[in-house]
Symmetry: C2
Subunit: 349 residues, 2 copies
DNA sequence: ATCACTAATTAAAACGTTTTGAATTTTGAA
DNA sequence: TTCAAAATTCAAAACGTTTTAATTAGTGAT
């Protein structure tokens, strides 16, 4: 393997100049810079990352802890994050070290990984309100970036989408189509995103002058089967007039909802409008739904780039930055005007 | 962070002696060794892994490529491997770098990871016959260890179980219970393990003087739903007298089979004996089945320890070793004697 | 010519460990 | 005592990079 010294010897230069030339420092003569780069190319030079890391004092590795839940619904989402993160981190020569969390204590795996290893920082996901991991890492002074955020205003580095706005956009669209009875099939409320979505939903519903009984705001939907059952129940009319529109936490949930609608003999969107938030998982494509699904869209994989960059910059000394994007609203075929005969709102309780 | 020099300064020793003391070299005085160790402990010394790696010329990282299949059945198995491997590698201070394979070319991700990174070696899984990854890595001289093997006799490092014996043990047990009609619900034959299981099955069946028509040797079972459908079909009697025993590729498959038996009104084990190979996935526990499942058992997580050690030793210059264990046969409640009225074998074709 | 200043390059130190070869101390026998 | 051998320890080199401080060469103005 060629080293800086080899390249220097080839050209009668010192390793220092070669290093600077390759790293694009301004004080090196442009002619020597080009010669150096050409020679490096020719010798197939690749910097020794371990040596770089030794001198810079950073390990070039960041950690991520995967929590395996008993219901095991991590799968798809996890692979998507893994794909995106390894690519985004790799583009800046950083490696991802994974560990699996099987304990009850949410901070223990971070502590263990930190003392066994030399990690520059962590990527956290699935924030919960008052996340204990945040308190721990902050106290230890360990850099981290959160995918999402534990509360609307935080001062640690994070990237995510505005989950209140996700609900708001959905409600506004449906209200503009005349819907008065809009249900929400939310994720579990122990996660911050679900809390935000519910808040956005409630606020937007209020702003439209509508009412949604608690029975039509579900928060137990993790699997398609959960969603199917919940939707069946909501559409039965048992808890009040059936909704004319349903907002789903994910495309997986929407799949269950659509199946339930079919089994109840309801057409989408003629009898029921369905929309969902879309993480753009490759095996659950919203455009492939029948009918194609109206969504708020924010590809999970895209989120990995800002996450990686935020963390790497943070490790490099940059200030902690919060970046919140707004999901894109894409109207497709699963939403339509409210049926003429179903325009009555739910009564005030 | 305390360094070797700090410890040396504290005791009036050189860094060299401290290094040797901590690494247990025989030429260091036992009294100084203890003093050094005590001081290291007191100062909270942890060796700088990057510096170690620079001088030893190894990166201390091994890679693993995860193939995401379109049917996405990797999930559980993958998490189990990840858990076991990070633990087993971590015990020897080696990190696992993951990458995701989304391409058609099976060797491309290895090539890419190799040129972007400095990896000491790879862990391969899910071998297929004539695996192109083996050819590539061998040609490049990159150390690797295979979980399983591409063929019965290979000369690269590998660890796995004897899959022919898995089938053999199952057939022998069932034959000893008087079963004459034994079906196999195998994994996909593009994987080497499924080929081995089928061979072992055929050989054992022959040795017992039995016959199994092709219709009762399935190789399409990946999901529980697949298994359910296949089992329903086999138990229908459409392709010949229904089997009195079924050997399943995994506990997941067995779950589908048992459900199918129930739906056909067959009792396990009174009307149908069911057994499976058990990777000991925590969310699919054979003992929790109703009835508790008779299995050949080889915990996936246990395999990670020899895999990690084999690879690390290989990187350290040890010869490539092949290690094949035999799965444990555990007889539980899902197997029983053949029903009196179902003792006829399948006819010779 | 001299000086000051800029541009370009280099030598050397640093990162923290392992390892080589040499130096010192201790031990045991004569 | 003295000497050789064995047991310890040490100084220095090495790994390959980045960075600091110093040096050389080049430029233009006086």
């Amino acid at each position: 393997m060629a080293t800086l010294k080899d390249i220097g010897a080839e050209l009668g230069l010192s390793a220092a100049t070669v290093s600077r030339a390759l790293n694009g420092f301004p004080e090196v003569n442009i002619k020597t810079r080009d010669k150096v780069r050409e020679t490096a190319e020719r010798l197939g030079y690749r910097p020794n990352r371990v040596a770089q890391r030794l001198v810079t004092g950073r390990s070039g590795m960041v950690g991520m802890i995967i929590k395996i839940r008993a219901d095991m619904s991590a799968d798809q989402t996890f692979f998507e994050m893994l794909t995106g993160l390894t690519a985004a981190l790799g583009a800046r020569d950083v490696d991802l070290v994974l560990a699996v969390d099987q304990d009850d204590d949410p901070v223990l795996p971070y502590r263990k990984l930190m003392e066994r290893d030399i990690l520059d920082g962590f990527i956290l996901n699935a924030p919960v309100p008052d996340d204990p991991r945040v308190a721990f890492l902050r106290e230890k002074g360990i850099p981290f970036v959160m995918h999402g955020q534990t509360a609307p205003d935080v001062d640690y580095a994070c990237y995510g989408i505005d989950n209140a706005a996700v609900s708001e956009d959905a409600v506004k669209l449906l209200a503009s189509l005349g819907h008065k009875r809009i249900a929400l099939l939310n994720g579990q409320l122990r996660y911050a995103y679900a809390v935000d979505r519910r808040r956005g939903f409630r606020d937007a519903v209020d702003a439209e002058g509508l009412v949604v009984p608690d029975a039509f705001v579900a928060a137990n939907a993790e699997t398609e089967m959960d969603a199917y059952k919940t939707a069946l129940s909501m559409l039965s009319g048992r808890d009040g007039a059936r909704p004319t529109a349903m907002i789903c936490a994910s495309t997986l949930i929407a799949a269950g909802v659509i199946r339930a609608a079919k089994d109840r003999g309801l057409r989408v969107p003629d009898d029921l409008s369905v929309m969902a938030h879309d993480d753009a998982l490759p095996l659950m494509r919203a455009v492939s739904f029948d009918p194609a699904l109206t969504v708020t869209r924010a590809p999970l994989r895209d989120a990995c780039v800002p996450l990686a960059n935020l963390l790497i910059d943070l490790v490099g000394g940059a200030p902690a930055e919060q970046k919140i994007d707004r999901a894109e609203l894409i109207v497709r075929a699963s939403t339509g005007p409210v049926p003429k005969e179903e325009q009555d709102p739910w009564p005030l309780t």
